[in-house]
Symmetry: C2
Subunit: 111 residues, 2 copies
């Protein structure tokens, strides 16, 4: 039996080199997805800014617990269907909504 | 001058009714974006799970500060170009990466 795990002194082991190539490939896909996520988030905040102005004009409160409960249920179901951890999906929505409510408060205070 | 801000006693003021319709329209767009975000996140975690297994096989550490610094710089630039707050984009990446590193640690510990 040969010891094929032993690296050569002057170059990385073939398996490590292959791992590096595969890692670069996976990271390129992750970078593409991240660009898509950033662009979608930019559009999402445009819509929520409109919601903020609308709520401020109509005198509605920035937070809406009923709407948030609906969103949580829907996103958890979509997460389960698409193979995403529903607990993470809920945390993710909470992270975004916290930012949105902060924006809405700024809009309401500026009026 | 008429007082057109005064609501009728038995129905919402026309402006409030219009605001409700517009709000429902904006929320439908936000819901579409959220579904897209959830599906992209599901795909992103599939890729990072592959990265986790690859790193564990190659004996690489779960976190990679150089890679993270590159991602932050790139996402901040994409955020600025697309009208998203770059500070938020960086917080968003931190939120995702914390979850990814947790997954990688679970993968490494399970081996």
């Amino acid at each position: 039996m040969t010891d094929d795990a032993a690296p050569a002194a002057d170059s990385p082991a073939p398996s490590l080199e292959l791992a590096g190539l595969k890692l670069a490939e996976l990271r390129a896909s992750i970078d593409n997805i991240d660009a898509a996520l950033v662009h979608l988030l930019a559009e999402r905040f445009k819509f929520t800014q409109q919601v903020g102005h609308l709520k401020a004009e109509a005198g509605l409160p920035p937070a809406d617990l009923e709407r948030e409960a609906q969103q949580i249920g829907r996103l958890r179901a979509l997460a389960t269907a698409s193979g995403l951890d529903p607990v993470f999906a809920e945390k993710f929505l909470g992270f975004i909504v916290a930012e949105v409510i902060h924006h809405h408060e700024v809009i309401a205070e500026a009026r």
